[in-house]
Amino acid sequence: VTLEVFGTDEPERVRQSIQQSYAAYLRRQATFGGYLKTLRRQLGFTVNEMAGYAQVAPAVWANWEANVHLPSAKEVLGVAERLKYRREVKEKLIDLLALAPEQLIRQLSFFCLEKCAAEGLQMLDVHQMWKGFPAKVRSLLLAWADKKGHRFPEDLVYLVRELGDEEARQAWADEVLGGMA
């Protein structure tokens, strides 16, 4: 059984595999979309089926699970009502929704470079990308850019490109999020 599940029967590697899976589970639970996905998987539904019960389009549900184009608190409560979620679940969803801007800023330097790499900067519509960010994210970024003398959104991609490794990106996100205090 161990070999079949973990691909190894070495106790140390099995332990590592369990730890990694658990860490991934906790990371997922800490985001709105990740928690939504866990709830769906617990019920044993596919995205299409779940979207049907929630009365939203499958692409909308998929965006929510991916933490992209998130719903308003009112929409979350409406969906939670239709899916008959308990009060604790509704509260957790609302709490996680409030954390979404912070999480988005932490990921922003990565995905906007991926997008740029895929499209090429000449083809990338930075203003369109900017419009896609939630208002809270835009205002935090603008506040940081003002302080540092940058022009956003025009300079955003060039700036994050120069950030370097993951540690530097997280440090930049911390600075931007400093404006949340």
């Binding site: 596919t46 998929a62 470079l113 090429g120 083809m123």
Partner: protein
């Protein structure tokens, strides 16, 4: 789920890996949702990405030529939010284009994980700030071949009447008969594409991967192609 290593792969390697990968991923998906048994790979590809690979699928505003991209840092595929307009322009079903695009991105996820994860963007993004590495075109071709094999299983294709006719015709020496079949290849390809719920472009790549046809790419339009039967005579001349 095991990942392929990302050494440069031969064409045969990719065909073989896409076949084995499809079996493994579909089996894992059916363990979760046994009720999906009997569906075509194209109908399962999104759920495989969601619930076997544990990636997300989101939409994003992209330029019309860019159907999708993968963000390895957050394990998300971003699909062009205007894919329906592209589908109309290409005169293909939107769902077919969506599934075909997802299978292509699955190819990147399964074939190129370490290559894509370990890029240093400062050197990776070239002067035009697009992909600037020698492997980028090669990676796209690899993902396309992976999608072609993943979505059209050889065994299922070989059971179709159309492919039985093609297989028989490959050994023919009668030029007229071959020419007549060549003139019908485009519609045969479209029929098979409809049956497998993929785009005709992708289906032509599947037939090419299984050495049934020779595919000539259009020079200006990446979606334009011409098909020709891969006859023994042709093969002998080109091998």
């Amino acid at each position: 789920v095991s990942e392929f290593n990302n050494d440069v792969l031969s064409r045969e390697d990719i065909v073989d890996k896409a076949q084995r990968d499809r079996e493994e991923l579909v089996e894992k998906l059916l363990e979760i949702y046994p009720r999906l048994a009997g569906r075509l790979p194209a109908e399962l590809v999104a759920d495989i990405i969601f619930d076997v690979c544990d990636w997300g699928i989101a939409t994003d505003h992209l330029n019309p030529r860019q159907y999708a991209y993968c963000d390895f840092s957050s394990k998300r595929i971003f699909l062009n939010s205007k894919l329906s307009a592209t589908a109309r322009k290409l005169k293909v079903e939107e769902m077919c284009l969506r599934r075909t695009t997802l299978a292509h991105e699955l190819g990147h996820i399964r074939l190129h994980p370490s290559e894509m994860e370990n890029r240093d963007f400062r050197s990776y993004l070239g002067p035009g700030m697009g992909y600037d590495d020698s492997r980028s075109d090669q990676r796209e071709n690899e993902a396309e071949l992976y999608a072609a094999v993943f979505l059209a299983p050889k065994a299922m294709l070989e059971e179709t009447e159309e492919v039985i006719v093609l297989r028989d015709a490959i050994g023919l020496n009668d030029c007229k008969e071959i020419e007549s079949l060549n003139s019908r290849l485009s519609s045969i390809n479209e029929e098979l594409a409809t049956r497998f719920k993929v785009t005709p472009n992708l289906m032509s790549r599947s037939l090419e991967a299984y050495e049934l046809v020779i595919r000539r790419q259009g020079t200006r339009d990446s979606n334009a192609f011409r098909l020709q039967l891969a006859t023994r005579k042709w093969r002998a001349r080109h091998e």
